[in-house]
Each structure stands twice: as structure tokens, then as C-alpha cells.
Symmetry: C2
């Protein structure tokens, strides 16, 4: 038994090392690789991924699991070894369902569709993207079939990002949100942008401020890196080597919110128990096969619940004014705080405020279910998008670049991914409510720039578990029940000064 466990851990450790190597190759490619290195890098990623996959789906892993399951049955449900064997079994069964050729074809299609999408978006020309999207949709439909029978083919895709969750459960949450958000948006304010939000904020100073902020929030300098990229993300090479990326513009302060967002992803991984190191129970920020909603709940918690709150800015605004005295010297705290919380009607999901964001997701969730089920053809997608957008937001999409072509996800095969963003928003407020109960002077601590109790609570109740439990089990452990949209709606109403309809 000991020998079987040691062999399983050794094999899984090697695979974890390959995955980490893969993540570093991607980080390097995104952050600093010379442009001409792309071809060689693609080959490296393909080889490392194939070798990691082959080693994981090996028969031998199944034999070891067979030998070890009686041992696991005798352990407490939450013992590390019991979880290791349970999680590995579940991952292994799932990974073996998909033929290697199909995985390879999807990987190839992803690589090829990216350039096509970039070009199509630039020219706002959906037709040039259509064949790539049709091909990808067909591949993902074949992928979903590998998991038949199912209630809904969308279930199989959603499962990649939110294991165990059903489409019907998401729909139940979104059915509550949709009318509420629509009415909040229709009745609520739409603030003009304040001139001072357009800078000038020199990039070096923003970078220094971001680093300072990360360290104050709880990222040890010798265990994190922060680098600029085009598309910010978080990844890691180990529990003590967290790489987060951000972006800067001289006429915007979004870098501070991006840094806090990616900090949330990074610190979640950083807090995983060392006993889960080099096992499938890590929650690497860039692996999508754990609850993306839980991961996103942490990026949103730090970005929004902390980073857009008045107590936070009571602490940090003087530092900001000190750094950019010409722009912010005469702007009051209250005015600045309102400016970073303004509601605006936008076409673009990634620019959306907290209220509008959910509607952007609901739009995509509805359309992608129809695409996957074959009820909506790709050729009819732009019209369907524009009609549905008008229905939800009350105004017209000007062109496909600001509409159906705005996101990379579908061309990249990520059907079923979008809802996790909004589930993350919902969860972030549920978790915040629990933290606020546990730490009565939470606001006062934040006003003093103290985050140790907050981070400690999140570590102990969430981060430390990694992927030991299913997403549903983990959510139950951290908030004491299932996903519930009500705290989130109350939070938005509060923020917008709208009286509760409940």
C-alpha cells in the first residue's frame, strides 16, 4: 500500500512538474519572449502537453487507484490521501473519455483560430471569422458527446470549468439576476466620466504603486512577480512562485484594479496547503479544471469588495494623491471613490461596471447554450447577439467588433466558461458576508491598511483546501450553503442607493 501510494505520488508529481513547466513557457511567451520564438514555443507546448496527458491517462494510474481505493475508504473524507485518490480518480476517468486525436485537433484549431479572430475583430468582419468558429463549435460538440449521456450537452462543457455543476443550476441563479439587473440598469444612474480619471499617470509610478499595494495586501516580494502584458493573467511555477501580470496606460488607473484582481487569483494559489504541493489538488490560477467561479470570486473580492470600497480608499487615497499630486491633489476622497464606482452603459464586457457585468454574461450564456444545442447556427449569431443585446441593455450594438467579435473565448473553444465569471461575482459577495461576520472590525482594519485577518480567514476557510473537495463541497464549506444571488443583489442596490425590492 505504501509502495503504491509512493508510486502514485511520484507519477503525479512528475505530471505536476510538466504542467508547471508548461505554465512557465506560456508565461514567458506572454511576458517577454522574442517575437520570432513563437514557432519553437508552440512545438514545446504541444510536446509537453502531450507527454503530460499520456502519462496521466496511463493504465498504470488506474491500477494504482484500484489498489489504493480500499485504503482511502478507511480514511476520513477530508484526509489528504483520501482526497488525492478521489480527485485523481475523477480527473483520470474524465481525461480518458476524450480521444487523443480530438484533443489534438482542438488544440490545433485553437492555435489557428486566434489570428483569424484578431484580424476579424480589427476589421469588424464576422464573415471572415465564421468558418473558424463553425469548426470550433463542431469540435466542441464532438467533445461534449464524449460525456454522453447528459441532460444537456452544455453540461459537459460547463463541467470543464465548474466540475459537477449543471446548466440548470446556473440558469436558476441567472433567472433571478436577469430581471433585477435589467431593472437596476434601467432605473439606475449613468455617471459621466470625471476628467481627472484620464491622467496623466506616469507608468513607472503606477508600477511602483502596484508593487507596494501587492505587498501591503499580503504578497511577499520574494514569492510574487508582477509584469506587464497585453492580456493580464495569473499563473505560477510553484506555491511560492506566483506570477501575476498587469497592464498600464498613462491616461487610466485601471492598473490598480487589475493588480488587485490578479492578486486575488495569485494569493488563492499561494494559500494552498503545502501538503497538496505537486498533486492534482493545486488550484493553479491558469488551470480551468477546478471551480473557475471560486477562483474568480477571489479576484473579484480583492478587486471590488476590497479595492472599490470606501474604507480601502480612506487608507490608500492619500498615497495615490501623493503619487499624482497634479491630477488628484484637489480631488476629494468621496469624488474619487464615486468615480471608480461609476455605472456606465457599455458594449464591452471587460470595461463593464459591476451592475452591467452580469447582463453581459447572461447574454453569452443564453447564446452559447443555443449554439451548442444546435438551435442557433453560427451564421445567425450576429443578428441573435444584436437583438438580445437590445433586449437586455436597451440600446443598439454599433458593429460586430463592439458586439459578437469582442471576446476571444468562443474561437478559443471556451464554451461554458462565461457563466463562471458571474458566478464568481455572486460568490465573492457571499464570501464577503461571512468574512464580515467573522471579523467585526473588518472595515476599520482595511481603513488602517491591515489585511492580515482578512487574508488569514480566506486562507483558513478556502485557499488551503485547493481542489481537495468538489466545487459544491468547497462552496458549502466556505459560505455554509449553495450559491445564492441575494447578497450580491443587496450589495448592488446598496451601492446604487436603490431601495430593496425584497
Amino acid at each position: 500500500m505504501t509502495a503504491a501510494l509512493a508510486e502514485l505520488r511520484h507519477r503525479l508529481g512528475e505530471i505536476a512538474d510538466l504542467r508547471r513547466a508548461e505554465r512557465m513557457l506560456i508565461w514567458d511567451m506572454s511576458v517577454l519572449m522574442p517575437a520570432a520564438g513563437g514557432g519553437a514555443r508552440a512545438a514545446q507546448l504541444e510536446s509537453v502537453e502531450r507527454i503530460a496527458h499520456e502519462r496521466f491517462v496511463d493504465e498504470r494510474i488506474g491500477q494504482l487507484l484500484d489498489q489504493l481505493e480500499p485504503y482511502a475508504d478507511g480514511l476520513p473524507y477530508d484526509a489528504d490521501d483520501a482526497c488525492l485518490i478521489r480527485v485523481t480518480r475523477s480527473d483520470w476517468e474524465k481525461a480518458r473519455r476524450v480521444p487523443a486525436e480530438l484533443s489534438a485537433e482542438i488544440a490545433k484549431a485553437r492555435a489557428e483560430s486566434f489570428e483569424v479572430w484578431v484580424d476579424a475583430r480589427e476589421r469588424s468582419d464576422f464573415d471572415s471569422f465564421r468558418p473558424a468558429l463553425e469548426r470550433m463549435l463542431g469540435l466542441k460538440q464532438r467533445y461534449a458527446e464524449c460525456f454522453a449521456p447528459y441532460d444537456d450537452p452544455y453540461d459537459a462543457l460547463l463541467d470543464d470549468y465548474e466540475p459537477g455543476m449543471r446548466t440548470a443550476e446556473v440558469r436558476a441563479v441567472f433567472d433571478v439576476l436577469k430581471p433585477e439587473l435589467t431593472s437596476l440598469l434601467a432605473g439606475g444612474p449613468s455617471d459621466e466620466e470625471e476628467g481627472f480619471m484620464r491622467g496623466l499617470f506616469p507608468v513607472d509610478a503606477q508600477h511602483a504603486l502596484s508593487l507596494e499595494l501587492l505587498e501591503r495586501l499580503g504578497a511577499p516580494a520574494g514569492e510574487f512577480r508582477l509584469d506587464p502584458t497585453v492580456h493580464p493573467f495569473a499563473t505560477n511555477s510553484g506555491l511560492r512562485d506566483i506570477r501575476i501580470t498587469t497592464r498600464y496606460a498613462e491616461d487610466d488607473l485601471y492598473s490598480l484594479f487589475t493588480a488587485m484582481h490578479e492578486f486575488g487569483h495569485g494569493i488563492y494559489q499561494h494559500g494552498v496547503s503545502p501538503s497538496l504541493d505537486r498533486t492534482p489538488m493545486e488550484t493553479a490560477p491558469s488551470r480551468t479544471d477546478f471551480s473557475m467561479a471560486l477562483h474568480e470570486s477571489q479576484s473579484r473580492l480583492w478587486e471590488n469588495l476590497v479595492g472599490r470600497s470606501l474604507p480601502f480608499w480612506r487608507w490608500f487615497y492619500p498615497r495615490l494623491q501623493e503619487t499624482f499630486p497634479d491630477v488628484l491633489g484637489d480631488v476629494s476622497l468621496e469624488r474619487f471613490h464615486r468615480a471608480v464606482n461609476r455605472v456606465r452603459r457599455s458594449f464591452i464586457r471587460v470595461d463593464a461596471d459591476e451592475t452591467t457585468y452580469g447582463l453581459h454574461i447572461i447574454l453569452r450564456f443564453e447564446l452559447e447554450q443555443e449554439l451548442v444545442a444546435g438551435r442557433l447556427a453560427v451564421k445567425d449569431l450576429p443578428d441573435a447577439w444584436n437583438a438580445r443585446f437590445h433586449e437586455l441593455f436597451g440600446f443598439e450594438v454599433p458593429n460586430d467588433a463592439a458586439g459578437v467579435l469582442q471576446d476571444v473565448h468562443w474561437g478559443d473553444g471556451l464554451f461554458g466558461y462565461f457563466p463562471t465569471y458571474q458566478l464568481g461575482n455572486v460568490l465573492s459577495v457571499q464570501i464577503w458576508a461571512r468574512v464580515a461576520e467573522a471579523i467585526p472590525d473588518l472595515e476599520e482594519q482595511i481603513e488602517r491598511g491591515e489585511f492580515a485577518d482578512l487574508l488569514g480567514w480566506l486562507r483558513k476557510n478556502l485557499y488551503v483546501h485547493g481542489r481537495k473537495f468538489t466545487p459544491a463541497e468547497t462552496i458549502e464549506r466556505v459560505v455554509g450553503g449553495p450559491i445564492d444571488p441575494q447578497p450580491y443583489l443587496r450589495y448592488l442596490r446598496d451601492k446604487l442607493g436603490v431601495p430593496s425590492t425584497a
Copy 2:
């Protein structure tokens, strides 16, 4: 046959990808990894290395080679496929000689001895390093035994860095050099250091100048990176993704010579024929299993033959003066050129000038042969070092830190590596003589900052071949004969203004 060749190429391509991934993990670790990431990174490197090794020594590779050898026999000797099969066979036979446990033990000992050496050198305390060195020497003696029978156990170690070369051949070259270098050093000048060489040279300006220099020498900006590290090196992730590293000090201009040195390593790899991409025939700068002497000949050619020459500084000195006018504005070209070529009697190999350098190597070459053969015990090494140093250099070593503890190599298991540095110096001058014959106006071109013909000649006659041929065959192709120390001695005598003794 076609299927066997495709399978062999596929397998070797995957292994090349793993090796490149490994090199990127090492580059990242040396350049920018957060300090706390070391433990996880060591595990990744161990896993990737083990998997690459296992896949290479697989029986299947041997079967494919057996099938393909009749095909290779029908091809011209220099056909890519013929070389692929020949080189792979030779690498495969060699790799299978060493038991996996011994390789693992050596890797472990290397990792463990590094810290011990750093600490021992810092305190100039050989005794604390002695057990680690004894262990490593024992392991490398066992390693050499894997290749018995041999004329000399040192042959087996030398073969890792200079495949096919015998200890006796190195000795023949060094036996010519030793008395000549000793007499040059005894009779030659020893220049005082010029005050202006101590700066101040702001690091940012040095970095910008290094980048400019690399591009002018022939490194396309989108295919190279230059980053600061503690110990400069060159590595790559592909033929079009070359990473060179350097170091800076505000009171020294060594960064320019380091950049040119590492450029030489990088541009060699960059010039390998694309038809050899992802095969064992690449000459990655950080792989030691090709001729390190040829690799070093290129770093030295660009650093010394180009970079310390008067024509080069005729072109580049005005840029340097313009960059550092306060320090160099009043210093003449001739004085500066003399300063970067000064001869000084030093204890430290890496600080040595071109004349002294060879003696540092000869010292190590003699001692390591005795260690490997068991004629010299590790406990007696410091005394042997100091006595031999006095004999060669004519003055005393002040302490072990400036003596036997100065280099990382022996603790790292690199017995047999040192001579390749000096063979590289010797070869660089032989190759330079051929280039000068082929390009009659070479000096004039360099004076105009034009390097395209020089680089083109080196590419066509050397770089493009990669590891297609043995080192001896490659040397024969590029210089038309074996290694010959005479051009190198003439070059030194010229430089020192000493009349030829020949």
C-alpha cells in the same frame, strides 16, 4: 523506411522540446525567478531531465536506428539524414552506458555541493568544501569507468565536452603553449590600470549600448534577449529565440566584452541550419555535449578578435565617448585601446587577460588529470595548487579563495571542461586567420561597423553545420587542419610587441 524516419524525427523532436523547456526553466531561474521558487523549480528540472533521458535511451530509438542505418549508408556522408542517424546512434550508445541511478546521484551531488562551495569560497575555507569535492570526484571516477576501456580515465570525462578528443591531443597543444606563455608573461609588460577604466558608467547607458552593439554585430532585436544575471551565459529556446545574459558594474566596462562574448555563443546557435531544428544536431550554447572548444572559439572571436581590436574601436569608440563624455571625453582612442588590452598578473582566471589565461587553464588541466587518475588526493589539492601556481606564474597565491576555491567547476563535477576554454582561444585565432584570407578588407569593414561579411562567412563555414560532424571533422572543415597553437602564439606576440621566437 519513411515511417521509421518520421517516427525517429518525432521522438527526437519531442526530446528536443523537453530540453528547450529545461533550458527556459534554467534561464528563468537565473534571470528573474522569485527567490522562494527554487525548491519547486529544482523538482521541475529533475522531472523534465529524467523524462527526456528516459525517452532518449528507450530501446525503440535503437530499433529505429537499426532499421535506418542501411538507408543512411546509401546517402552522402554530409546529408542531413545520414548525419541525424549517425549522431543519434553515437549519442544513444553513450547515454545508455551510464546507469540512471549514477546520473541521478551526480545531479543530486551537484545541487548539494553548490551551496557548500559558495560558503567555503566566501570564508576561504577549503576543508569545509573537501567532503563535497571528494564525493563528486568519486562519482565522476565511477562515471568514467562506465566508458572503460580507455587509454586514460580523463579521456572519458573530456569526451563529454570535446567528443572524440583524447587527453594526449590536448596535452600536445598545451605542451607547446606552456613554455611560450610562461616566457611571454615573464618577459612581457604588466600595465598599470588606467583611472578612467573605473567609471562612472551608469548601468542604463551600458545596457542601451550593449543592445545597440548586439544589433550592429548581427543579432536581430526580435530574435535575441539580453538580460542581467550574476553569472553570464547564453542559452536558447529555439533557433530564433536566443537568450544571452550579462552583468553590469558602474565602475567597469566589462559588460561590453561580456555582451560580445555571449553574442558569440548565441549567434553560433542562431546560425544553425533550420533543417537541423529540433534534432540532436543543434548546438545549443548550454549543451556541453558538442565541442565546447568550437563554441568558445566563437565567444572569444567576437569578444577578443573583434572586440579588443583597434579597427573595432576606431568605429565604436566615438559612440562610447559620446555616451560617457565626462569619463572618456579626453581619453584618446589609442590609450583606451591599450587599456582594454592590458596584461596583468592575476590570481583569478575569469579576470585574466589573453596571455595569462592559458596558464590558468594549464594549471587546472594538470591538476584535474592527477585527481581523476587518483595520483593526487583531494586533501593535498590546495598545496599542489599553490606550488604549481608559483611555478607557472612566479608569484604566491594569497589564500584558497583566490586559489583552488575560485571556480565552481570541480564541485559541479565538470572535470575535463577547463581545457576547452583554452582550445577555444587557440581555435578562435586559427579561424580568424581563415576569415582574414577570405575577406581581404575585413579590417576596413570592421572600421566602418560592418559585420555582415564576417558573420556570413562564419555562418556558411561553421554555424550552419551544428553537430552534423564530429568536432574534429568540423574543425578540419573550417580551418583545413587540426588544432594548431602557432597562429595563437603569433597573435599574442604581435599584441605584446614581442619578436617571434620561431
